[in-house]
């Protein structure tokens, strides 16, 4: 099932939280929804799930908005904030939503086991650690065995072991079971290890979307390549003849843009230029994300990266 978001816009008072945001989430992959705090991620996810009414735009699941889904629990599972009645046990919490969704209450025990909470299910949710709350929220999302999962910062409060478990769990749900997984985070490193694709937002606008590898190496799959050679002049000339833009740095360093390491290596090999180092400049994504976060969120940045926002 495919999630399509288009033209989503929402203001709270005079603050424009989300502005004409559109992206798609494909099945069988984990899509990271990445942006600094205050970029409008939570507002967007809540609009996608029908909890917040957008001022404009739409979000659909195979063409159907959330509120019109015939079986919402069996279609979309959502992990938003960890919201439980503190006096109710985790198991009872799940049983409430089993009943509301018309599922057998035995489903509660099944999902508790699936998220590793089987032994804590009968304890009051108010006594759960942050990590256990996240697992209970995930269990709630899994009740209806939905083809789509939407998770808002699910790694918050998890210990490193829990994060590792979550990462494997989400990738399994997407890659092995073919579900559509949309997961938000403000941590690029976390997304790089979990997501196949990312949608980057800043100040409520789309900055970039694409696969991690694509974004890492630049939009066209060809980014910046660093080569180190004792014969920098010759390498620069050879690459220049091949239509690449090569800049000479100090210490035999040549920075090539608009090429992949394989292309640079092949040119150097044919020309017989000795190479001491050849690597892709992988900081493209970090750079992009850093510029985004350095602008400090929605207050400073109306359009943090114009070339990205235009895409």
């Amino acid at each position: 099932m495919r999630v399509e978001v288009s033209g989503l816009t929402k203001s709270f008072g005079t603050v424009r939280a989300v502005s004409d945001l559109g992206f798609t989430v494909e099945p069988g992959s984990v899509t990271g929804f990445l942006g600094p705090n205050g970029a409008g991620k939570t507002t967007t996810l809540r609009m996608v799930l029908g909890l917040i009414t957008p001022d404009a735009g739409s979000a659909t699941f195979d063409g159907v908005p959330y509120a019109a889904l015939p079986d919402p629990v069996g279609t979309v599972g959502a992990v938003l904030e960890t919201a439980f009645h503190p006096a109710r046990s985790g198991r009872d919490h799940l049983r409430v939503y089993c009943r509301a969704a018309g599922l057998p209450v035995s489903r509660a025990d099944e999902v508790l086991t699936a998220v590793g909470l089987a032994t804590a299910g009968r304890r009051r949710a108010g006594g759960y650690s942050l990590g256990m709350r996240q697992r209970l929220a995930l269990a709630t999302a899994l009740l209806g065995d939905p083809p789509v999962l939407v998770l808002d910062e699910p790694a918050n409060g998890l210990d490193p072991e829990g994060i590792l478990w979550l990462r494997g769990f989400l990738r399994h749900l997407a890659h092995e079971e073919g579900r559509t997984v949309l997961v938000s985070s403000h941590l690029l490193s976390e997304m790089e290890q979990t997501a196949d694709r990312v949608v980057i937002v800043g100040a409520g606008r789309l900055v970039r979307q694409g696969s991690i590898t694509e974004l890492r190496s630049g939009a066209q799959g060809a980014g910046t390549v660093l080569a180190r050679t004792p014969d920098a002049d010759r390498l620069a000339a050879v690459l220049g003849d091949a239509g690449m833009s090569a800049d000479r740095g100090t210490d035999g360093l040549v920075t090539v843009t608009g090429a992949t390491p394989a292309e640079v290596g092949a040119r150097a090999f044919h020309a017989g230029v000795e190479l001491h180092e050849l690597r892709a400049e992988t900081t493209g994504l970090e750079d992009l994300y850093f510029r985004l976060t350095a602008g400090q969120e929605q207050f400073a940045a109306t359009s943090p990266t114009p070339e990205g926002a235009a895409r």
Binding site: T43, L49, E81, H85
Partner: protein
């Protein structure tokens, strides 16, 4: 809809709020029944009329309609039933499970009306047992004749309808403390003042307090509605607040 109603019952029974409120209602009603029985027939004091003596129909009406005083606790039960969704932020999973939010409010109305029936029966039973034992010890246990059963039935009806009103008030106000404080201030400050001002007297019979009196009073007071009219009016208040709550408050963004 059955599933949604059962979900509400599961919510209600898996926290302990209801136990405290039901115990409170029983203690309150049992206590007042015992107090009124103990003071029944006492001499008038300082111009205040005394309570009617044990064995008179007036006494029996007073001690059997005392059960209706627990309505404030049923009201609070209903208020908590709706507002806890916002207080503990479970409105998020609730509205994710049931995106058509009006259905959630409707399910709560039905669930709390039905749940209030056994609670009301329990409260009435406590009232009857205390009165029969204590008044019996004082020499004249009332019989459960048609008049007294009608009084008890009216009190039970008030209890059930107040749970429904609570759900409606909670849906409208959403803030738990605000809704409870607001309801108490209304019942114990605003209404007594309105009912004590002569000019406003004609309006009083249309207010919830006047409707309660209409339901629970045996005697035909000229400035009150008929009992059945009072019951309908009370139910109308519950449904009206629930409807307004659904339209004005429950549909708002859950952020």
């Amino acid at each position: 809809m059955t599933g949604l109603v059962r979900a509400e019952w599961t919510k209600l029974l898996t926290t302990r709020v209801w136990i405290g409120l039901v115990l409170g209602a029983c203690v309150m009603v049992g206590g007042f029944a015992a107090l009124f029985t103990g003071l029944a027939g006492a001499e008038p004091d300082g111009g205040q009329p005394g309570l009617p003596a044990v064995g008179t129909p007036q006494y029996e009406e007073v001690v059997f309609s005392v059960a209706a005083n627990a309505s404030v606790l049923l009201l609070i039960l209903g208020i908590i039933g709706t507002t806890q969704e916002y207080r503990h932020r479970t409105a998020t999973p609730t509205f994710l499970t049931t995106p058509r939010r009006g259905r959630v409010v409707a399910a709560k109305l039905v669930a709390y009306a039905l749940a209030a029936v056994p609670i009301a029966l329990l409260v009435l039973a406590v009232d009857v047992v205390v009165v029969l034992l204590f008044a019996g010890a004082r020499g004249a246990a009332p019989s459960l004749d048609a008049d007294n059963l009608q009084t008890l039935g009216a009190a039970g009806l008030v209890l059930v309808v107040f749970a429904v009103i609570g759900v409606g008030v909670g849906a409208l106000l959403r803030n738990q403390v605000g809704a409870i404080v607001g309801a108490l201030v209304y019942l114990y400050v605003v209404e007594p003042i309105v009912s004590s001002i002569g000019v406003l007297q004609p309006a009083y019979k249309w207010l919830p307090g006047g409707a309660v009196q209409a339901v629970t009073s045996d005697f035909q007071a000229p400035d009150l509605l008929e009992p059945w009219q009072g019951a309908l009016l009370l139910l109308g208040y519950g449904l009206l607040t629930a409807f307004l709550g659904t339209v004005l408050a429950v549909r708002r963004d859950v952020v």
